[in-house]
Subunit: 245 residues, 2 copies
């Protein structure tokens, strides 16, 4: 079994993910937000790379049941219904809706792993559920969304906690790439908290634009027990797994 | 003072390095090899991105005093004088010569930092000398050459040891980016040795092509006390610093 971690979607190619399960992580904030949205009754999320593509897709899906969501430079795109703060995605707002979502980093990561056999979304909010979904599985690729293709500590720690909870440490039959070894080490060096997130580059950026309340929510370990899965560019909770409340 | 580490040259842009000192690291093997070559009396090294550019430059410099060096997929380029194994660069072979050198990852990193105020080359072979050259300096950027733009543990540990020896830990007045924080942590988790290098992706690749003897040399901490510096795409030891023996 192999476990590869990539600290940036830019270095992921088709051969890196083909035949494997891919887990996409964007702690601050895309995967945290989509877990929150699905937990609050959103039917599905469609990630798009550009705002133009988002507008077009929302229009073709039918605007009455679809919300346009996403950010540029951390802030809600002008004219969109929602930004990328998980707290915006309440049951009242997103229940029964489809969401079209474009974010700076997270949607790139989903695009990078489209060739994988299976694509799951992880954040601190649903970490244990993802671990459970992966147990006994085959080759694994974890893609950290990073920031503008650069290393992001919040995503790397989430990857590391995932590895720690999967019980892999580089010994035995599991072959880990260099980045996976380092991510696994991080789990012993840091503790998940709003303060920790606020010390990372992505967290400092949120503090700078007045969105510090997002940090507490993004640091909420195992707040939900669902595992979002992407099929045909549509992210939802597969029926057999049900929704938590 | 800011210290930024980049795990790949692909994410370094001009604004990342302008006005700063940049340190390029390619433990396996470009910066190890060029330190060894300069210690053995090579006059200068000219890094080039392509083999074609290397051949052209060597020809314009005059082939009698110039050696063509470099690798593709780890092995010597056909028709070149030398590959990229530091042990090839003995005083008998490189003394008094200019070297034109093209490698898969290291030369990309030098190209990425051309806009910096000052560009130094570091490896385990000259780590203390680089630390001494940096003491009391201003903003610092450390660029790990990586492997095909991906994270490389050998380079990251070298960056981390550099930070550890500089005495920076993220507290106090030094502002470190996320990657610098992680690199600094690595210094406590790993020890430099041929075995360690053999456990990394780059090291495994060398083992696979029968170049395991390079690992011992690349792990030789402080074997030399010189600091290569790049000026106008020419890497040499500035006269005031002299050559060690």
């Amino acid at each position: 079994m192999t476990i590869d971690v990539f600290f940036s979607p830019a270095v992921v190619d088709e051969t890196s993910v083909e035949g494997k399960t891919a887990v996409v992580i964007d702690v601050i904030r895309a995967t945290s937000t989509l877990v929150e949205a699905l937990a609050n009754g959103a039917k599905a999320i469609f990630p798009t790379l550009s705002t133009e593509e988002a507008v077009k897709l929302a229009s073709s899906l039918g605007r009455e049941d679809t919300l346009l969501c996403g950010e540029r430079k951390g802030l809600k795109v002008e004219g969109f219904d929602l930004g990328n703060s998980p707290a915006e995605f309440t049951a009242e707002v997103v229940g029964g809706k489809q969401l079209v979502m474009t974010t700076t980093n997270g949607t790139r990561a989903f695009a990078a792993v489209e060739a994988a056999d299976r694509v799951l979304a992880a954040s601190f909010l649903n970490l244990s559920a993802v671990v459970e979904a992966l147990e006994g599985g085959g080759d694994l690729v974890i893609v950290c969304s990073g920031r503008e293709n650069r290393f992001s500590l919040d995503d790397a720690l989430c990857a590391g906690l995932l590895l720690q909870r999967l019980g892999v440490d580089g010994d035995g039959d599991v072959v880990m790439n260099d980045a996976a070894r380092v991510a696994a080490d991080l789990a012993s060096n840091y503790t998940v908290s709003a303060d920790f997130l606020g010390s990372t580059a992505a967290g400092k950026n949120l503090l700078g634009i007045g969105l510090e309340s997002d940090l507490e929510l993004c640091a909420s370990l195992d707040r939900h027990s669902l595992v979002p899965e992407m099929r045909e560019r549509r992210i939802s909770v597969p029926p057999q797994e049900g929704l938590d409340t």
